[in-house]
Subunit: 613 residues, 2 copies
C-alpha cells in the first residue's frame, strides 16, 4: 500500500453535521424500520467506511488508472488489488449497509448509505462501479422479478458472490433506447433466446465475482416499436441451475473493452449476446414489454449514484486542493505584494485562491446537502408508506423531482469543481504526481451516462414539473417559501434569504413560461431552455439548503464558548452559505430573464450556417 | 499516415472572413512594410498551412499523445514523426511566416500569422510548442541582445537549425518568479557560470534540432532580491563557438520529464544547470538585472500564443462535434418525439445539440475575432511607428490591454468549449476513438502556464487599466461606444447593440469600483474580483466584435442572390452574434452588480473554517 498515493479525503465533521444536525437522522431512527439505528451507529459506520476508503480503496485509485483493464482470452482482468478489495468490501459489510435484513443486509437509512457510497465512490470511482452495478441490478430483481428469481439471484448479488450489470445501449441506440434491436425469442421451456450487441456496459465482465448477472433489454418478436416493446431479461454469464449452482457459459462474449479518458479501472465492454445461438435469458417478473419501466427502477437509483459520483470527486478534489493550498508557499501576503523581502505565505492566504476554495466548498457542501435532502425524502417515503400515505406521497414526489437535479447538477458542478481544484494546484495540478487531474478525467463521464444531463433536464421539465398535476413542484416551492418566511429577519442570513425569495419567484415565472410554451406547442424553445431551468432550480435548492445549514450553524456556534474548535467549523458553514447566496443565487434571476426572452437563434440558424470542416 | 486519425478541422471560409472582410487586411498590405502581401497571398498561405496541418501534423496528434516522450541516456526522444514534421515545417516555410526578411523570413502581417499559428497549434498542440518556443526565444534575442549575439543565434533559431526555451520556474518559484534561486557568477572572460534547477521547461530537450538555446533567469551575486535582481542568460545546450559551430556539452542535464494530463508529445523537463560546475551563459544584451523586463518581451508573445492554443483546441473540437452531430442519427425530430415509428434524425436537429453548437460557435468565432483585433493592433502599431506615433501608441495600448484578455478568456473558454464538444458526442466523446477527450486534456494547461489566469487578471486590473493614466482603457471603451452609436438603430442587431451599450456602462462602473478599492487600499476585494472583471471585459469585447461581424455579414448577405451558398455562412455569423448578445452579454451587467456588492466572505472565513481532510 503506497501511502503517498493515499489521496482520498473527506471531512467527517461535515458529514456528521449533515446527517445528525441538519437532516436529523434521529427523527427517523429508533423506530421501525430503523429500530437498530441511531446517531452512534451511524457515526461509527462513517468512521469505519472512511478508514477502509483511506487504507484500501484510495491507494488503488491512481494505479488502476495507470494500468486499466485487460482483455485476456475473452475475460476481463481488473487492475491489481481490485479482487482483494472486492472481497474486503463485502466481508466487512460495507456494501450490505443499505440491503434489507431479509436479504442479509443491515437495513440502514438511505441518508447514511448515500454518505457511505460517496466515500466508496470518491476513494476509487472506477472500482466502486462494479459493486454499485451489482447492487442496482439486485435491487431491480428484488423489486420486479418473480419470487423464484428473487430467491435464485438476489442474495448472492447483494453479498458479492455474483456481480451484475445493466445492458441498455446499442451502437445506434444510446439516448434513443427505444431503437434497440436486440431480440428475444420464446423457447418452449419458458426461457428466451437472446441475440444482439450491447455497448458501454460498465463492469460487463470482470474477475471479482464467480458470476455476472446481466439485465438485458431486448424485443420479443411481434412486440411494438419503441420503448413500449422492450422486455427485460436476466442473462447470467454462467448459467444458473435451479438450485443456484453454476452451469455452462451462456454465450455472452466480451467483444472488446473501451479505451477511455478516465475511470480506466472500470471495464466498459462491448458484449455480444447469442452469437453462437446459445444465450438463454429469463424474463424478469414474467411479463413481456415491461422492460423499460423495470429498468427505470434501477436507473433512478443509478442516476442518484452518478450524482453522488460527481459530488464524491468534487469533495475529495476540494479537500486535496485545500491541503495543497495550506502547504504550498508562494509569494508575499497580498497586503505586502510590493516587498520582495517579506516572508512567503501559503497560497491559502491569496484572495483568488480563497475565492476558488470557497466556491468549491459551497458547491460541494451544497450539492451534498441536496443529496441528503433527496435521501431523507426516500427514507421518509419508505418509513411512512402505509402509515401516513399522504405524507409518504409528498416525500415520494420530492424524490421524483430532485433526482434529475442531483444527477445533472452534481455531475456538471463536479467537473467544474475538479477543474477548479486543478487550477488551485497550478502547474502541479496538471501532473500525474497529484490526484486532481485524474479526478477531472474520471468525473467527466458523469454528465453523460445514465442519461445525459439534457435527458435529466427534459425529465424535469417535460415530466416531473407537471407530475401529479404539478403538486410535487408546488410542494417544493412551498418548502422554500416556508423557509423564507421563517428566516426573513434572521440577523446573519436575512439579506441572503431575500435573494432566495426572489429566486423562488423567478423560478416560478420561468416554470410558467415553460408551461405556456408547452401549451402552445413550442417544443423547440423548451428544449433550448431545459438545461437552464434545471440549473436554476438546482441552484435555488442548493442555496436554500446552504442557508438552512447556516441558520443551524449560527445557533450552534452561539452556544459554544470562545475558543472552541467547532466555532470555526460553523463559521465556515455560514460563510459558504453567504458566499453562495451573494455570488450564485442572483444567477437564478438573471437566467430567468434570459429564459423568458425566448431566444430561438439556435433553431433559426440554418444547418449550413454552423460552418463546415 | 492514418487517415482515420486526421482529426484536425478548421473553416477557411471563416478565417478569410475575419482576415479580409472584418479585419480588412488590405488596409495594411501593399505598402511598407507589407508591400509583398495582399489578400491572394494570404489566402494561399492559409490553404497551404491547412493542408500541411491536415496531412502532416494532425495525423501525429493522437499517436504522440499515446506514446509521449521518453528520456533515453539523458536525452529526450520525441514521438514518432515529430523530427520529420519539424523538418517539413521549416523547409516549407510555415514557421518563417512572421520572421522579418532580414532574418530570412517572409515578414507577414501578424493578422495572418496568428491564423497560421492557430492551425499549427490546433492540429498538434504538443508538437507546435517546440517551434513556438524556439520562435519566441529568437524574437527575444533579436530584440534584447547584442548585435553579436543576434548574429550568432537568431537566424539559426528562426530557421529550425536550433530550438529554444524559456527557463523561469523553479520548484519553490512558480507564479512568484522573483523568488528564483538560480545563480550566475561572473567569469573573467565576461561569461557567467550558472547553477540552479528549473522546472516545467517545455521542450527543455528534444531530438528535433541540433542544438537548444535556453534563456535562463538567474541572480548574479549581490543583485537585489525579487524580480528586480534577475538577469537573463543565453545558455546553449551545446556550446556555440564565435563562428557559430558547435562545441562541447554545456552542463545542462535533463533530470526528468513530467507525466501529465495532456500535451504528452511536448517534453516538460526538469533541467539542472551547472551540476558539474560547467554551465556557461552569456548575459543577454550585456546588462545585468534587466532579465525580467527582457523575459516579458517573450512572455507577452507567449501569452498570446497560449490564448491561440485555447482557441485552436476549441475551434477544432467545435467543428469535429459539428461533423459528428451531422452524421450521428439518434431519436426522432423533437416535434414528433412521441412517435417511435418516425425516421431517426441527425442529432444536429435536436434543440439542445443546436444550443451547444451555437454556444461553441459563438465563443470560438468571438474569441478568434478578439485574437484578430489584437493582431491588427500589433500590425498597425508596427506599421505606424515613426509615421504617426500617436496612432501607433493607441494601437500599442490596445495590445497591452487585450493581451491578458486573449490569454485568459481563450484558455478558460477553450476548456469549456472542448468539454461541451465532448458532451455533444455523448458517450463516444469519452472514448479515445474520438478526438475531443484529448482536446479537453491538452487544453487544460492553457489556463495555468505563461502566468495563471489570475495573474492575467491582476495584470489587467492592477496594471493595464491604469496604464498611461487610464488612456488605453478609455480608448477601448470609446471604440465600443463608437460602434454603439453607429449601429444603435441597425435593423438586425439594434437590440443587441443596446445590450452592448449597457454592458459597456456596467464595465465602466465596475472599473470605477475597482479604482475606488485601489484608492482605499482594499486590495483583498480587488484580488477576489479580478477574474470576474477580466471575464466581463472579455465578454464585452467578444460581444462587440461578433456584432461588428454581424453588421458586415448582414450587408454582404443582402448583396447575394437567393440560393447563393455564402448566404448561409453570413446567416450563421448573424445568428451566432445574436445568440451571444442575448445569452452572454447580459452577464456583464449581472457580474457588475455582483462585483459592486463587494462580497468579502472568502476573506472573512477563518482558515480553519474551510474544513479539514
Amino acid at each position: 500500500m503506497a501511502a503517498a498515493l493515499n489521496w482520498y479525503r473527506n471531512d467527517l465533521r461535515e458529514l456528521s453535521f449533515l446527517l445528525l444536525e441538519q437532516f436529523k437522522l434521529a427523527e427517523l431512527t429508533g423506530q421501525p424500520p430503523y429500530e437498530a439505528w441511531g446517531p452512534e451507529e451511524a457515526k461509527s459506520i462513517l468512521q469505519e467506511t472512511y478508514r477502509f476508503c483511506r487504507e484500501v480503496l484510495g491507494p488503488l485509485n491512481a494505479s488502476a488508472d495507470r494500468t486499466g483493464c485487460r482483455l485476456e482470452n475473452g475475460r476481463v482482468r481488473t487492475p491489481a488489488g481490485f479482487p482483494d478489495a472486492w472481497k474486503q468490501l463485502y466481508e466487512n459489510g460495507f456494501k450490505s449497509l443499505g440491503v434489507s435484513p431479509e436479504h442479509g443486509g443491515q437495513g440502514a437509512p438511505v441518508m447514511l448509505t448515500v454518505l457511505s457510497e460517496e466515500m466508496l465512490s470518491g476513494a476509487n470511482p472506477a472500482f466502486a462501479m462494479y459493486p454499485g452495478l451489482a447492487f442496482g441490478a439486485a435491487e431491480l430483481i428484488r423489486e420486479c422479478a418473480t419470487a423464484e428469481q428473487v430467491k435464485r439471484y438476489v442474495e448472492r448479488m447483494f453479498n458479492g458472490t455474483w456481480g451484475g450489470t445493466m445492458c441498455l445501449t446499442e451502437p445506434h441506440a444510446g439516448t434513443d433506447v427505444g431503437a434497440a434491436k436486440s431480440t428475444a425469442t420464446r423457447q418452449p421451456d419458458g426461457t428466451y433466446k437472446l441475440k444482439g450487441t450491447k455497448i458501454y456496459i460498465s463492469g460487463g465482465d470482470h474477475d471479482l465475482a464467480e458470476n455476472i448477472i446481466h439485465l438485458v433489454l431486448a424485443r420479443v418478436e411481434g412486440a411494438p416499436p419503441g420503448t413500449k416493446g422492450l422486455s427485460l431479461f436476466i442473462v447470467p454469464r454462467n448459467r444458473v441451475h435451479a438450485d443456484g449452482t453454476l452451469g455452462d457459459n451462456n454465450d455472452v462474449q466480451v467483444a472488446s473493452i473501451e479505451h477511455k479518458m478516465g475511470i480506466n479501472g472500470s471495464a466498459t465492454c462491448v458484449l455480444n449476446f447469442g452469437e453462437a445461438d446459445g444465450c438463454v435469458g429469463e424474463l424478469v417478473g414474467g411479463a413481456e414489454n415491461a422492460g423499460m419501466a423495470q429498468m427505470f427502477r434501477m436507473m433512478n437509483g443509478a442516476r442518484i449514484a452518478v450524482g453522488i459520483q460527481g459530488l464524491a470527486a468534487a469533495s475529495s478534489a476540494y479537500l486535496n486542493a485545500l491541503e495543497y493550498a495550506k502547504d504550498r508557499k508562494q509569494g508575499p501576503h497580498y497586503t505586502k505584494w510590493k516587498d520582495p523581502t517579506v516572508p512567503r505565505v501559503s497560497i491559502l492566504e491569496h484572495p483568488d485562491v480563497r475565492r476558488m476554495l470557497l466556491d468549491m466548498k459551497a458547491h460541494v457542501e451544497g450539492t451534498r446537502a441536496l443529496v441528503m435532502k433527496l435521501a431523507r425524502h426516500v427514507d421518509f417515503s419508505r418509513a411512512l408508506r402505509g402509515k401516513d400515505d399522504e405524507k409518504a406521497s409528498y416525500h415520494h414526489g420530492q424524490v421524483e423531482l430532485l433526482t434529475p437535479l442531483v444527477k445533472a447538477f452534481a455531475s456538471d458542478e463536479g467537473f467544474r469543481v475538479c477543474a477548479t481544484a486543478l487550477q488551485v494546484y497550478g502547474g502541479a495540478g496538471y501532473l500525474k504526481d497529484h490526484p486532481v487531474e485524474q479526478s477531472v478525467r474520471d468525473v467527466k463521464i458523469t454528465s453523460i451516462y445514465e442519461g445525459t444531463n439534457h435527458v435529466q433536464a427534459m425529465d424535469l421539465v417535460g415530466r416531473k414539473l407537471g407530475q401529479a398535476g404539478g403538486q410535487y413542484f408546488q410542494a417544493f416551492l412551498a418548502d422554500v417559501g416556508a423557509f423564507v418566511e421563517a428566516h426573513r429577519s434572521h440577523p446573519v442570513v436575512g439579506k441572503a434569504v431575500a435573494t432566495l425569495a426572489s429566486g423562488q419567484e423567478n423560478l416560478m415565472s420561468a416554470a410558467m413560461g415553460l408551461f405556456g410554451w408547452s401549451q402552445s406547442g413550442q417544443l423547440g424553445v423548451i428544449g433550448l431552455n431545459a438545461n437552464r431551468f434545471l440549473n436554476m432550480m438546482a441552484r435555488l435548492a442548493v442555496g436554500w439548503l446552504l442557508l438552512d445549514g447556516a441558520v443551524l450553524a449560527d445557533a450552534a456556534q452561539e452556544k459554544l464558548p470562545e475558543g472552541d474548535a467547532d466555532r470555526a467549523f460553523y463559521e465556515g458553514k455560514k460563510q459558504a452559505a453567504l458566499w453562495f447566496a451573494r455570488n450564485e443565487l442572483p444567477k437564478v434571476e438573471a437566467e430567468a430573464k434570459l429564459l423568458l426572452e425566448q431566444d430561438a437563434s439556435a433553431l433559426d440558424i440554418p444547418d449550413a450556417g454552423f460552418g463546415a470542416g
